[in-house]
Symmetry: C2
Subunit: 287 residues, 2 copies
Amino acid sequence: MKPNRIARCAQLAMLLEVSATPKPGNIDRDHNYPDTRFEHFLASSAGVYPVLEKAAKSRSGVGSLIRCAVIESNRWQDGGNTHFGAFILLIPLVMAAGRCTNKACLKAQVRQVVRETSVDDAVELYRAFSEAKVRVKPVDELGLGDASSINKIKEQGLTLFELMEIAESYDMIANEWINGFERTFECAASIRDKVVEYGINDAVVITFMEFLSSNNDTFIQTKFDSKKAEEVSMRAKRILQKGDINVIRNDIRSFDEELLKEGVNPGSSADIIIAGLFISLFEGMKF
Amino acid sequence: MKPNRIARCAQLAMLLEVSATPKPGNIDRDHNYPDTRFEHFLASSAGVYPVLEKAAKSRSGVGSLIRCAVIESNRWQDGGNTHFGAFILLIPLVMAAGRCTNKACLKAQVRQVVRETSVDDAVELYRAFSEAKVRVKPVDELGLGDASSINKIKEQGLTLFELMEIAESYDMIANEWINGFERTFECAASIRDKVVEYGINDAVVITFMEFLSSNNDTFIQTKFDSKKAEEVSMRAKRILQKGDINVIRNDIRSFDEELLKEGVNPGSSADIIIAGLFISLFEGMKF
């Protein structure tokens, strides 16, 4: 597939994810946070295009591509962090797509892309974190925005894959890196299976709810604590048990309003949905 | 400005326009038509990116670029005509932006781009019309989708600019071509002037309502008749007279519901708003 086609799939994935509504706690076409709005996500999605296209042509440089994506995203909007976590998943997936000779080999290729990352990639990601002031749990004693951390990474010769290994147990995005993007591919399959019956909006909403119900969101865990993340999962689970999307839509809406009011946004789950949408579009999903 | 920066402004203009709500009669983030949905507009906006970037680098070929844009837009979604009229305005504007050495010269450059169009450009646009099966009033005896029309254009040596001159009196998009994109630049100024006070969504909504109130929409005129287009304008005018956006929001919503129910969509006005948004983003508008 041509690099510009891969990049457009990634961009469309970002647009479809942020548009899907209601998506409890997260920004969507009908819900904003005071300083970050739906339109900031649109601007970030448009702004990052050249980096996505570059990634589809690149054989290496995951870390610096993620950093470029963050810089470009921030240049096009003032709403703060919109897609940082998404880029950590999307960039290696887009690079892997660029290597694929057929659509079925994406899974094998992305495993390879992340395993091939270098110490430089780790340093670049750390730079991106500190530049973007993203809320994230520091890996071990490697404090973020701390110049000495970058020196430590270099001294210890930690690759980006190895950094992700350290974070794997408590960070769902790092976990995807280590475990072959398994949950991301599951999300892709779920969206693709639901799109004909439910349409693209509801396919994303149901997949998001299902994902939330069986995973504690890292972003909530970092912003609040693991109890809060567990509560949110349990709540999603109970709503899903009540019936199909048309039965539970109002429950999802109330859940959404509550989370938004408390500022509880399952941002990492949204990142995985974006990556899942990319896979399903890359594999040919129509809607 | 770099071609990829110009293309991203054009793409973001498309995204911001379709998202703005409520926009009486047209698709927006909260309103769909049965066969054409908000997500089709997102897919068209993502899909057309490479053509926009190519246009920003092109010195000629307006007609074939518009045709490519339509083909690419349709390749990425099955919702039918989403952005045809918008491309007729955006493509020459994007080409003009690519020629600009400073942001102030866009108006002069776009006048030149349209005046330089050729017979080939006219033929390519006619081909695009017939391929896309867009609802449009044929120019004089030049029937659309009619191979003999293309021969007539060639025989008479009509350039695309000259075709637009024939249509100028009854088609607001053709009128923009002939009159230096005057109303489009007015829309750009209006959006830019309102964005700080009202935010980007409402800046677009108010500008759309004001535009509608003083122009009979070509798309409505072609689909219904000029009486209907006039009615819609009068209705928009009366609503605007009641007060500011926060006072009239519910009136705009009711107006929207009514037009959607009747299938009365002021599509040409939306096209001009997209082009206006492009100009304001190109000129540096932040939101």
